[in-house]
């Protein structure tokens, strides 16, 4: 069965974001366990740059999608699956916008500004405050574990379409067409 593919741009943005999210998430788990050192500070900076990049890519994806509709769902799919996949996709996009912002606010609350790629200073979103920083860190972590859970479902569903249903749904996001 041939399926309409996502556009090349949509695919590139999707897979770039996917790789960056896996790297940023793993780096977050890794760096927070390190003893304080210059390298730890470098990894924190890198983590923030990855997050801001995911944010920018996500904004670009939403803008692209507004002008380039996604391929329609398979007519053969049950309604609940259509609704669930639609909800999951928008939830993922929302998290990809909110999580970097939560990290940025957290960084501001710790008194550490964010300078994107070491070049572009971003404004501090809140003043330095220890108690808000602690709460914002919990928020940032919770949102990330939520993202990890939804991504797991997203990947499992795609693999099921590919290897169990053989319906070409996952292929729409794979390179080539």
């Amino acid at each position: 069965m041939t399926q309409l593919h996502y556009t090349g741009t949509a695919k590139t943005l999707h897979w770039t974001a996917a790789v960056l999210i896996v790297c940023g998430f793993s780096l977050g788990l890794f760096m927070t366990r390190l003893e304080i050192s210059p390298d730890k500070l470098r990894l924190y900076a890198l983590h923030k740059w990855i997050g801001i990049t995911v944010f920018l890519i996500t904004v670009a994806r939403v803008a692209w999608r507004a002008t380039h509709p996604a391929p329609p769902p398979l007519p053969s799919m049950p309604d609940w699956q259509k609704r669930a996949s639609r909800a999951a996709h928008w939830f993922l996009l929302a998290l990809m916008v909110i999580i970097p912002i939560s990290g940025w606010i957290y960084s501001s609350a710790t008194g550490v500004s964010v300078v994107y790629l070491g070049v572009i200073p971003l404004p501090d979103l809140v003043g330095k405050d220890r108690e808000s920083a602690k709460a914002l860190l919990i928020l940032h972590k919770t949102l990330n574990y939520t993202l990890a859970a939804v991504v797991t479902v997203h990947v499992a569903a795609a693999l099921k379409h590919h290897f169990v249903d053989h319906d070409g749904v996952m292929a729409r996001m794979l390179p080539g067409r």
Partner: protein
Amino acid sequence: MRLFRPFIPSLAMLLMASSGASAQGVLIDKSEVRFISKQLGVNVEGRFRKWKANVDFRPRDLRHSKADFEIDVGSIDLASEESETEVRRPRWFDAMKFPIATFRSTAVKDLGGDRYQVDGRLTLKGTVRDVAIPIEMKKDAAGNSVAAGEFTIKRLDFNIGDGQWSDPTVVADEVVVRMRMVLPRAG
């Protein structure tokens, strides 16, 4: 820790009472000692939670004005408890051995308008350096005098952050110290 000097009108102040607003002591809760350092080119803000001040500001009698500070370096407020613990260690402030940093003014100069310069000696981690703090005096809504000033020190002059931390591209040598002192309205 808090030092509110009782208001004792000095002879000079009685003489000057009608001609200039003098101020003594510092409203600690409204005042702050902050600093901005740069890590990997990024501004990182901190402050000291505990410090004492002995300020006697007399705009018409600068020779008898003074500003002395004692800062509890262990009370540092940074991004995280982890960094605070780190900077109390010997390679940074060595807060066990040098718990207090002091500034003692040696002269207060009039720079014209509301601007003054406070010269003094800063003792930090056993090293003494002369510093000059330009300040600007303003009034807040309650009529208190607010002295705001900032100056830059080089942390490596005081051996703050050595070994793996001595690289100024990781933590910049220059640290900007910002002080905001609220002095109660005289009389």
